[in-house]
Symmetry: C2
Subunit: 129 residues, 2 copies
């Protein structure tokens, strides 16, 4: 479950924010499916999941937070609108947060919209990849 | 602990990303202090914490994720640099994510730098505040 390593000193990364739409409402209230889809997307994109937390709201909607060795990912679903907010923040160069967003969208049969990437922190220090 | 309400249909919010620096390293490895400071900051800024998740990395550094009724907040600390990444995402108009970031920074005796706000989702629907 846990990989304790973190690349010390890399105070730099990319934070990708996106919205997804046109999704079947029943998928967006299925906590286990959403946890699994988010875990698979970030893992396939090169990140390491340390832990996850989920919550199903009443009357509808799910939040899943994923703690990553590289930072974090989150989804907030709106079944009533067929819509999702997703963000993936990864430090270092090993993981690709935009790929993670695209893979998660594909698992829900859609494409991301309003995708934006914020570069955070310092440039990599000398000797970093 | 839990307030299950979520304002249905408000697929709109503000996501504030910031960095903090110049902080005493020992504070940035103190999981209980960081959980408490984040909880207090988002609560005072009008958000409702549903749950929290923390992780202390080896050899140093802490991540805390807060699940909010309004979306989420996160911190990632770098004691070796005296630095923190923080982001607070709140849907609806009740909570003020920028205030939450400023309150958290104040609890650590510093001011936010590189603060940016991304507006996400749709404009509020008719009849919303």
């Amino acid at each position: 479950m846990t990989d304790e390593t973190r690349t010390v000193g890399v105070f730099a990364g990319r934070h990708v924010l996106a919205e997804l739409g046109g999704i079947a409402p029943e998928l967006l209230d299925d906590v286990e499916f959403l946890r699994s889809a988010l875990w698979s997307a970030v893992t396939e994109a090169g990140a390491t999941v340390c832990d996850m937390l989920d919550h199903r709201f009443e009357p509808q909607g799910v939040t899943v937070l994923a703690m990553l060795a590289e930072s974090h990912a989150s989804i907030h679903t709106y079944p009533e609108l067929g819509a999702v907010f997703i963000d993936v923040f990864t430090c270092g160069d090993r993981a690709d947060p935009e790929q993670a967003v695209r893979l998660f969208a594909a698992a829900l049969g859609t494409d991301p919209v309003a995708l934006s990437t914020v570069r955070r922190g310092h440039a990599p220090v000398e000797g970093e990849p």
